[in-house]
């Protein structure tokens, strides 16, 4: 190819690329929501004299063009691929988030250990203890769910927290509770590749260990059900990493669970009936929310087939959503509380603490970033 022809080819190729993408961007209908990123997308901003003078229009327009750019999911993956495979980086950094992959498992760097956050979390637990649990004939248990970094960060050459120090710190700060160690029961295969969470079908032994520590025997006979919908976890779109595949999401059912009645409360304190599994969530932004409908502040599960009148109160984060149903078998009633979505000072409106087992189970992710605990 002569230089003259090359110049024409280069101009034409780039012209087609630029103007093609530009026209596509201008005329493509705007999307409302990105399921891969799990976020609402910006719509075209309002133009007023005020928004122009204070530059809000410009800032919003910039966000709009980024959100509505054609084939943006593909471009994310190209950028992630370039970082990893061209520049040989270990991470794909997106804003404040720092993703990596090891053996197909995606995770976000969680480093360093935030002692202030552990202090705060322990302070919130102690506060609940002082307000509701002290001298109430309750049996208190505490357990920590390791995040995926515990298993893969070091092998992936990532900075990794000292998890032993992490757990010891939390144990010392919660010495009024019995610690239940579940770390040895877990491995990276017990987690979803594209999500932060563990797989419910892989944690039956975890439930049994916790049950045993609380003096409850759990048979753990469940039927595995595969969601008829592919599951792309939170990292599937957000990490911007290429070559990720959607997974199968499994949920466990049993006669005991099928017969349970489940209720939550609306903003006005009015009870609302629900199920252990919310199948509508399977087609919503986060299918992992099928487990106890995801981020609800307070749920009561009543087990009519229980052979005991024991009650359990679980203070939990999202890892507890899939675990809690597996503990139901051993109790007449299980109350699941998420103090990220409910101020703990309001708890006594819904729960009367007396003669119960109380389990605090939190992931290292929430404990290390605990400002949302109330």
């Amino acid at each position: 190819m002569s230089t003259k022809v090359k110049n024409i080819v280069l101009t034409c190729v780039m012209g087609v690329f630029f103007f093609g993408l530009a026209f596509f961007a201008w005329f493509k209908p705007a999307d409302d929501y990105s399921y891969t990123e799990r976020k609402t997308l910006k719509s075209f901003p309002k133009i007023t004299w005020e928004t122009i003078v204070n530059k809000k229009f410009m800032t919003d327009f910039e966000s709009y063009t980024l959100d509505q750019f054609p084939m943006r999911d593909r471009f994310f993956k190209i950028k992630g691929g370039v970082n990893l495979y061209l520049f040989g980086m270990k991470n794909n950094v997106r804003g404040d988030y720092n993703y990596y992959t090891e053996d197909g498992y995606v995770s976000e760097v969680e480093y360093p250990m935030n002692e202030g956050s552990l202090d705060y979390a322990a302070g919130r637990f102690k506060n609940i203890y002082n307000m509701y649990l002290k001298n109430k004939n309750t049996n208190l248990y505490f357990s920590i769910v390791p995040d995926k970094n515990y298993f893969i960060a070091e092998d992936a050459g990532q900075l990794s927290m000292d998890y032993d120090a992490f757990i010891n710190t939390m144990k010392e700060k919660t010495d009024y509770m019995q610690y239940i160690d579940i770390m040895d029961l877990l491995s990276i295969e017990d987690y979803y590749k594209t999500d932060t969470h563990w797989r419910q079908e892989k944690i039956v032994d975890v439930a049994q260990r916790i049950g045993e520590a609380m003096g409850v025997t759990l048979a753990g006979n469940y039927k595995e059900n595969v969601l008829d919908h592919p599951f792309g976890g939170v990292y599937y779109g957000q990490s911007g990493l290429p070559f990720l595949k959607e997974e199968e999401l499994v949920y466990l059912t049993s006669d005991v669970l099928d017969n349970c009645t489940v209720k939550t409360y609306d903003k006005n304190g009015k009870p609302i009936s629900m199920g252990i599994y919310d199948m509508e969530k399977a087609y919503d932004k986060d299918p992992y929310e099928i487990y106890l409908s995801g981020s609800l502040s307070l749920i009561e599960i009543t087990n009519p087939n229980a052979t005991t009148d024991k009650e359990l109160v679980i203070f939990r984060d999202s890892f507890g959503s899939s675990l809690s149903p597996l503990l139901v078998e051993g109790y007449a009633k299980v109350t699941v509380v998420d103090i990220r979505y409910m101020n703990s000072s309001m708890l006594n409106r819904y729960v009367r603490f007396n003669n119960q087992d109380v389990l605090f189970i939190y992931s290292t992710l929430v404990l290390n970033n605990s400002s949302s605990l109330t």
């Binding site: 530009a22 910039e62 980024l66 950028k79």
Partner: protein, 473 residues
């Protein structure tokens, strides 16, 4: 508006180019470029677009007056008035906060701060207007009668906010007549792609590295500070030279020829040579409009030393209204003086020492310069960082965390270090020197540039962009 943004690349630029190439006459093209440039500027600074138009009008009116009274004392009066007015604008909008703060600190008086927001690119466009009026006075160029032509020169968006400082006399004829060809457009696209790649794929990554590394690292070491300093040095070069490449490339697409602004400065063997390769348009501006009018080197040694210090004090101060920039400039004055008086010949002949010396002093100087803003112009922080390079502060030599970051960014560092030298350019030229090689390069070039743009677009869509460091100057 940033070149490295989706609104610029996929909204503003396509519209500008479509209309520009559809318009038949140069006057219409210039008028369109002026309107587009004003929109481009107002996008980032709606209020300050009026300031820029005012400055252009001052330059235009005084240019006409200087020419009208050419050969008469009034011509000089108008030239001095124009320079004074333009400098007054610069001093007020760029330096007033600094002067007031220092006056308050010096006297202990409670002087209210002015909180004047620095108009983007003011140092660049006012220097262009100022040099235009001086050039008209000197008779180097005739005054431009057409306001639109002068305004489109000053406001021309490719070079408006971060240079290079294009002189009116260098593009005077191009404003009236310029040709467009596939060759120029292709060269412009290539240059623009290289500049955008330098900015987004290297400078922004290095900037992120500096910030992440500096802020997140809990286990700092001597090696940590060396790696930070090298990343900082590469970041500044790729950011600024990338912008210049983009400006030159866009200029070519629009038919203009801007002078080069960088010529692989990190391969210099002396600081004297470094400044002939770094921000060349600023260096030559200060030479022609400050150093030579002060007498240059055709004066006594003492006066020459004084001239050098004045020029470098101003060069430092031009970069920012803060003491770290002044010290940065004066530091270069001292180094240039030492070279001029004693070491330049030795450095020129040296094979290794000169390179090591330049890289070392520039590395130190850019910690003071703090373009990435990590130290927020706090010189104490810069001094601590420099001290840490030499083990002060009781730091260990290495740490595990430092190795982690180095391992993650090693390939990028190699790309950046090689890219800061002419190795790639020379290799391509060597391959192109044969017929077969030229054909291969001609086939690969469009694919390479397309690939670069795809990656750049991917990075931009990912939101991984940051403002150009030189906007603040």
């Amino acid at each position: 508006m940033l070149f490295s943004s989706i609104p610029f690349l996929y909204y503003f630029l396509p519209i500008v180019l479509i209309v520009y190439f559809l318009l038949p006459k140069i006057f219409l093209k210039n008028t369109w470029l002026l309107l587009a440039s004003l929109f481009f500027y107002a996008w980032g600074e709606p209020k300050y677009a009026i300031l820029m138009v005012t400055a252009i009008t001052i330059g235009y009116v005084f240019g006409l007056l200087i020419e009208k009274f050419r050969g008469k004392p009034l011509s000089k009066v108008f030239m001095i008035s124009a320079v004074a007015l333009e400098l007054a604008l610069l001093i007020y909008f760029k330096y007033a906060n600094f002067f007031v703060a220092n006056f308050a600190a010096l006297t202990g008086m409670n002087v209210p701060t002015l909180n004047i927001i620095l108009p983007i690119g003011i140092s660049f466009y006012l220097f262009q207007i100022l040099s235009y009026d001086v050039d008209v006075y000197r008779g180097d160029v005739p005054a431009q009668k057409n306001y639109i032509y002068l305004a489109s020169y000053v406001a021309l968006f490719p070079q408006l906010i971060a240079g290079p400082i294009v002189r009116y006399k260098d593009i005077e004829e191009q404003l009236i007549s310029r040709n467009h060809s596939f060759e120029k457009i292709a060269l412009g696209i290539r240059r623009f792609a290289i500049g955008l790649g330098k900015k987004i794929l290297i400078a922004d990554q290095m900037s992120k590295f500096c910030f992440t590394f500096y802020q997140d690292c809990d286990d700092k070491s001597v090696l940590f500070f060396w790696v930070y300093a090298i990343a900082n040095m590469l970041c500044i070069y790729f950011d600024f030279s990338g912008y210049s490449d983009m400006a030159i490339g866009l200029g070519k697409i629009l038919g203009f020829e801007f002078l080069e602004n960088f010529n692989y400065p990190y391969i210099s063997k002396s600081v004297t040579e470094f400044w002939r390769r770094w921000h060349m348009s600023l260096g030559s501006w200060f030479r022609d409009y400050v150093y030579i009018p002060l007498g240059g080197n055709r004066v006594s040694k003492a006066r020459n030393i004084f001239n050098i210090f004045v020029v470098w004090f101003l060069t430092g101060f031009w970069h920012g209204a803060a003491w770290n920039y002044i010290i940065w400039g004066v530091m270069f004055a001292l180094l240039l003086l030492v070279e001029k008086l004693w070491t330049l010949n030795f450095l020129k002949k040296s094979k290794v020492i000169g390179h090591v010396y330049v890289l070392f002093v520039v590395l130190i100087s850019f910690i003071f310069f703090d373009a990435t803003g990590i130290f927020e112009n706090d010189m104490k922080e810069s001094v601590v960082a420099i001290g840490s390079l030499f083990g002060l502060g009781g730091l260990p030599l290495v740490s595990a965390e430092t190795f982690h970051y180095i391992a993650s960014y090693a390939v990028l560092f190699i790309f950046a270090i090689v890219g800061a030298t002419p190795v790639v350019k020379n290799t391509v030229l060597k391959i192109k020197s044969t017929n077969a090689g030229e054909k291969v390069i001609n086939v690969l070039e469009p694919l390479f540039i397309l690939g670069v743009f795809v990656i750049i677009t991917a990075s931009l869509v990912d939101g991984a962009f940051s403002p150009f460091l030189y906007f603040q100057f």
